[in-house]
Each structure stands twice: as C-alpha cells, then as structure tokens.
C-alpha cells in the first residue's frame, strides 16, 4: 500500500479537522457514513464529538456491526475524545444505553475532568511519539480508569489536580486519546496512526 486510505466516521463531530490532519501526513482521507464506504478504507478514525449522539447514530445507520467486524479482523482504529469513549469496553457516567464498539479492554469516565469551564490545554509526554511532549487540548474530556492486561498506557496527565490520569492508550491496532491532536496542528499522532495502518496492511 503506497497511500493508505483512512476513513473518518462522519456521523457527527470534528470530521473535517481529522480529514485535514490525515491528508497532511500523506493519507487518502475521506468521510465514512455508510457500510459500503467502510469497505473501502484501510483504517478508521472516530472523531471528537458528542459520544451519546455518535453512539445513537451508529445504531440508527447500521454501522455498528460492520465496524465491529472490521475491528475483529484487525482494522486499525484511532479514537479522540468521544472516539476514545466509543472504543471503550466500559463507560462510566454515560447513558445506560450508551454502547461503544468491541474495542479496547478499558474503562473510561465521561466528562471526567469536569464541565466546559474546566476544559484545558496541557503538555502530555507520549510513549512511542518522538519530539517531546504533546501539547494536548482536553474538551469535556474522558480519562481512563482501568486498563486490561493487553492495553499499553501511552500517556498520562503530568500536572494539576488530575496528575497521573491515563489519557492515551493502545491495544494492538487500536489507539485512543482523551485529547484532540486534530485541533493543534501537531501532526505527530496522525502520522503515528498512518504508520500503524501501513504496518497492519
């Protein structure tokens, strides 16, 4: 594969920013809303947005089963913020009927840092991403409260009241962050994911 095709789940959220970030690091990026469009991609990004809304639309437009099947078959998926919640096996402080994909063996807490007035920017050091700490933007963000034995913790909050909280993880071909690299113009995480898609192919 010379140019990997990477879809961005385009039911709701900051789809355009992810498409632009992926295109900027050499991927053929495109929005995906239908099962047929999913068939054409090598990897998938689940964007930031409102996880309750995305979770509902995934069911209404019959995207859950096709995505679960592709994940089981090894398709790389990256989720930011709401996307991390969608990739979590267990969600706290969500709606009782909220369901994610058959994804990462972890428990995440929604809106864990507080309401919008508590949203913040802070540096986060990421394992496997060179070039120094990542300037991370957290917006009504979740954090990870439990990880299973197969989950690698890539980053934690390093200052403030939430110090030590897990905000970036990887399990096999699944990658998830509490924060939004698509908003900062720093291409390293998207490049990392594109490499993951290349390697997985």
């Amino acid at each position: 594969m010379t140019v990997p095709v990477i879809g961005v789940l385009a039911l709701q959220g900051d789809v355009r920013e992810h498409v632009a970030a992926l295109a900027g690091v050499g991927a053929d990026a495109r929005p995906v809303r239908r099962p047929g469009e999913l068939d054409a991609v090598d990897g998938l990004v689940v964007p930031g947005g409102e996880s309750t809304t995305i979770s509902k639309l995934v069911d209404i437009f019959e995207m859950r089963e096709p995505i679960d099947k592709r994940i089981a078959a090894g398709m790389p998926v990256y989720g930011s913020c709401a996307g991390m919640i969608m990739l979590a096996a267990e969600v706290l402080d969500g709606r009782p009927d909220q369901r994610g994909f058959a994804g990462v063996d972890m428990t995440v807490r929604r809106n864990a840092f507080g309401r919008q007035v508590d949203s913040f920017e802070a540096p986060v050091a990421l394992t496997g991403v060179d070039g120094g700490p990542f300037h991370a933007v957290f917006i009504r963000a979740p954090w990870v409260e439990r990880v299973g034995p197969d989950v690698e913790v890539l980053g934690r909050v390093t200052e403030g009241p939430a110090t030590g909280r897990i905000v970036a993880v990887r399990q096999g071909n699944l990658l998830a962050t509490s924060f939004h690299p698509e908003l900062t113009g720093d291409p390293r995480l998207h490049r990392h994911f594109v490499e993951l898609v290349r390697t997985a192919a």
Binding site: V15, T53, G131, R140, T184
Partner: protein, 303 residues
C-alpha cells in the same frame, strides 16, 4: 519539537482554542431548546448534541410578550443534573452579570441572545473576560466578525425565532456565505476597504479571505421546524443547527427531534430525508415573518 503547534506551557483553562474547540465537537449536530428536565431528557434520547435551557421557548416569548430574561438558576441546574450532554443557557445582550451567573452555575456555553430582551443597546458582553465560551447570533458577516472580536467562540446565523418560518434563516446564512465568497475574490489591497465596510478588524477580515470560512464554527438558528428545514440549512453551509420552538411546539416532539437529528447527519441524501420526514404528525403552527410588525422582529436586535 519544531513540529509542535504551540510551546508546551503549564495547564491553561478558558483559552480561545478550548472555547472554539468545544464548538467544533458539536458540528453536524442539533442543539435543542428545552424548558424542563423532562424535555432535556427527550432531547438527549433523540440524539441532541446539546440542549439550550430556557424558561420559555421563543414562540411563547413572542405570544406572551413582556421582558424576557435569563432563566431561573434552579431550572438550569435541574437540566444540568438531568442530562450528560452539554447544557447551554441564554443571557440578554450586554447583560454581563447574567453571564457571570451562568458561568458560576457551570453551563457549558452561554448564548448572548436576541431572543431575550436586550440589556444594553450599545454594547455586547466582553466575552474574553469569561472562562465559559459564548455563542452569538449574526445576520451578516460584519456582525459575525464583531461578535468574534468581542470573544464569541461560535456563531449562529439568526433566523426569526419562534415562527417556524425558515426564510430569515435562509437569508442570513446565504448572506454570510456570500460575503465570505466575495472576500475570497478580492485582491489583497482591497481588503482594507472591505474591513472598513464590514466594520470589522482588518486581521479578521484577512483571515476569512484566506481561509474561506469564519475562524469559529457557524451554526444556524431560528424558524427551523422540519427535517427538510435542517437539511437545507446544512446544504447552505451551516455546520449544525439550533432548533427552538420547532420540536416541543410540535405534535410528537420525541419523533420529530430524532428525525431532525438524522436529517442533519444525512443532509445531502434525499432518500434518507424522505424516510425520516414520514409520519411526524403536526409541525408547529407557523407565523409568517412578513406578518410580524418590524418592532417585534427578534433578528433585528443586535448590531
């Protein structure tokens, strides 16, 4: 480190990026007016990305008249407790103390709204002074850029709220998009005069001319009553929609709310739109904007 977008500094809240970023997360979504915790739950169940907590929907404000103000904190708090999605609330234009109270209550976004009675006919709120982000209405590009200059982190094109008549929303969305396209077509030495004409700062005008879009998210509001209305506004370039009276003044709010959510996501797919438009029952009873006397038109508040 050369690729990092910003220097790694200490933790910061209330930055422009965090405020504008919050609106980016709402894109492609529907924000619904609610007056009770029960309505907020119905909205969340239907897939709303956020709710707007207010005491009376615009249709009732219009019918009942009088001075319209920020909602009762108890009522806002009840809605915050009832749902897990973001909660927005309205402050009067220029009423910075109402905004301070809303921030203290922990609302996620303040709408400095022409639907309420203005508190200041000269100045809008200095929105940079707040940690909570603001959304403001605009009928044209100059108005939108003045609000952004004052610190608005999100813009909604104004319609005529509480009417169920989408014509004003259409006019204002077309106007804003048309003025952006015009800026893109101008040679750089004409942008100075363009800024003067728009009554907006040159730097912002230049940014819009280069990017072909506002530096913040652009939603639409006012008069949206059907899935087709929402989809049309999306096709005209809105990045999401506010629905006020259109849902809870209709025959079957839960079903209509869900249909408008689906229509917003698949705004460019007529087959989906046809499917979701079926069997919704009565739409809200409309008022033609033309029949509303000039002094009672809400969209004309704000400057």
């Amino acid at each position: 480190m050369s690729e990092s977008a910003a220097p790694t500094t200490a933790t910061a809240v209330g930055t422009a990026r965090v405020k504008r970023g919050m609106a980016e997360m709402l894109k492609g979504g529907v924000i619904m007016d609610v007056v009770t915790a029960e309505q907020a739950k119905i909205a969340e169940d239907a897939g709303a990305v956020a709710v707007m907590a207010l005491e009376r929907v615009p249709a009732d404000i219009r019918a009942q008249g009088g001075v319209s103000r920020m909602s009762d904190p108890d009522m806002i708090d009840g809605i915050i407790q009832a749902v897990s999605i973001p909660v927005m609330a309205k402050a009067r234009i220029g009423h910075f103390v109402e905004a301070q109270i809303l921030q203290a209550l922990g609302v996620d976004y303040v709408d400095e709204s022409e639907v309420l009675t203005p508190a200041d006919y000269a100045n809008h709120i200095d929105k940079w002074a707040f940690t909570v982000p603001f959304v403001c209405g605009a009928t044209n590009l100059g108005e939108a850029l003045r609000r952004i200059t004052e610190g608005a982190a999100m813009i909604r094109s104004k319609g005529e709220a509480g009417t169920g008549d989408v014509s004003n929303a259409t006019t204002h969305m077309r106007q804003i998009r048309q003025e952006i396209r015009r800026l893109q077509s101008l040679p750089s030495d004409e942008l100075y005069v363009a800024a003067k004409e728009l009554q907006a700062p040159y730097e912002l005008v230049k940014e819009v001319a280069e990017q072909g879009k506002l530096p913040v998210v652009l939603f639409t509001a006012g008069g949206i009553a059907t899935p087709a209305d929402a989809a049309m506004m999306m096709q005209l370039g809105a990045e999401g929609v506010f629905v006020g009276s259109g849902i809870f003044k209709s025959g079957n709010p839960a079903q209509r709310a869900a249909a408008i959510v689906k229509a917003t996501t698949f705004h460019d797919d007529p087959d989906v739109l046809a499917k979701v438009s079926r069997g919704l029952g009565e739409a809200m009873v409309g008022i033609n904007v033309d029949e509303i006397p000039q002094p009672h038109r809400l969209a004309e508040r704000g400057w």
